[in-house]
């Protein structure tokens, strides 16, 4: 099966996003960040010594997985019932609430996606194919006011340039953006009212459930031993949040 293949070739290919702190790329090109670090450790325990990470757009991850370009996605791709139907998720890994990036002082007082829908002028930026885009659309923001932004840096830039009224990402991503920008003309609003807390998991191809189950076993062991917390908490994520919920719950199974 797939795990044996991976053991044999000695590495697993994982897709990651270009979104700190879920992922971080150092100046020397080496990949770290919460999601790849967890994946690396779990695969090591499964007997796969290396992970080869490739940075990918969110939208390209699932097709890449289906096209066997990756063995797993570890990218902060949050679990949602439709996604659970498209891929096989592990148990939760990284949890985060949704946040808004706004001009300082939140002049329009946005607190929820519905607030944005209600303002006929307001535009919201979100990653294409990401959770935030879906939430905005579901809250009734029309398509032409949901701007698909390729990456966090672009979102921040567009907000600073006044092209967006709101840019929405998970809390940790937004705070990382603000920290890097050092710009006090923007601020974060979190958590977004009415938006659930989301957790991602490692996503596997449908059909690779055996690999997923093996992954789950090692992940559970790490959660148990506290090693899990030791990896993700320096990046700002909460291990307790991940351990307090489950795939079954998040996928609505």
């Amino acid at each position: 099966d797939t795990l044996d293949d991976l053991k044999e070739q000695g590495f697993a290919r994982i897709a990651i996003a270009n979104e700190p702190p879920f992922t971080a790329v150092a100046a020397d090109g080496s990949v770290s960040g919460a999601a790849p670090d967890v994946a690396r450790e779990v695969f090591k325990r499964l007997g796969v010594p290396e992970v080869v990470a490739s940075i990918s757009e969110y939208g390209a991850m699932i097709p890449g997985l289906q096209a066997r370009r990756h063995d797993a996605i570890t990218a902060g791709l949050f679990m949602k019932p439709e996604r659970c139907a498209a891929v096989a998720y592990s148990e939760p890994v990284l949890c985060d609430a949704e946040a808004f990036l706004l001009p300082a002082g939140n002049p329009k007082g946005f607190a929820s996606y519905e607030d944005i829908a209600a303002d006929p002028e307001a535009t919201i930026g979100a990653p294409g194919g990401g959770t935030e885009e879906k939430l905005a659309l579901e809250a009734g923001v029309p398509r032409d006011r949901v701007i698909v932004v390729p990456d966090g840096q672009s979102g921040l830039k567009m907000l600073q340039d006044g092209r967006l009224d709101v840019y929405s990402l998970p809390v940790l991503s937004i705070s990382d953006l603000i920290a890097k920008s050092g710009d006090d003309s923007v601020e974060m609003f979190a958590p977004v009212v009415g938006a659930p807390v989301y957790c991602d998991g490692a996503a596997f191809r449908k059909g690779d459930e055996a690999l997923r189950d093996a992954f789950d076993v090692e992940l559970a062991a790490m959660k148990e031993s506290g090693e899990f917390a030791a990896i993700i908490e320096p990046y700002g994520f909460s291990a307790a949040a991940a351990m307090s919920t489950s795939r079954a719950e998040l996928c609505g199974e």
Binding site: A85, G128, E133, K134, V148, V149, K157, M158, Q160, R163
Partner: protein, 220 residues
Amino acid sequence: MSWDWAFVWQIMPTLLQGLKITLLVTVLGAIVAAVLGLVFAVLRRSSIKPLAQGTSVLVQFIRGTPLLVQLYVIFYVLPDIGIRLPALVAGVIGIGLHYATYAAEVYRGGIEAVPRGQWEAARATNLTMRQTWAHVVLPQAVPPMIPALANYLIAMFKETPLLSAITVLELMNQAKSVANSSYRYVEPMTMVGVFFLVISLISVALISLLEARYGRKASR
């Protein structure tokens, strides 16, 4: 993953919406390219040396670097110096500017293709410079340019997907967004390919009509 016709029909309106933007960008970009191209062509013939050379370097620079990166710069860097263009405008200007350098080349070639003897005959019949351009050179230079310009129009049309990188909701971006929310990729992407193929095949056929028409006229 199998092909699902019902899904194709379901996403058709969204894709057509994107196609509308794609065509709009193409047409507006073509106008920018045609006008700016003429400006470039004229500046390059300018008798003011630094102006001619500066234009020449600029044209070479624009032609030598990827449109995608130029779009990034126009959209994300220009605001730093206070130029904040809406995405669609930035896209039209970016693609128009890029293709203006190609149009300039076509103009130059068309003008140079008018035989020297025609300039000389105009001079021997004592036409002024302006009359020579208006009555002798341009009427002969322009028709043979039309097919080449039309070819670039098609090339431009096929490059519009780049505008998705600066958030313009053109055909490719619509298709991606459909794919992202449905997790079905083959149908939308294939349909984008079909749209492009059909439109450019039709255009190519139209161009060969143009070529036949103006080619004959030009060969007189």
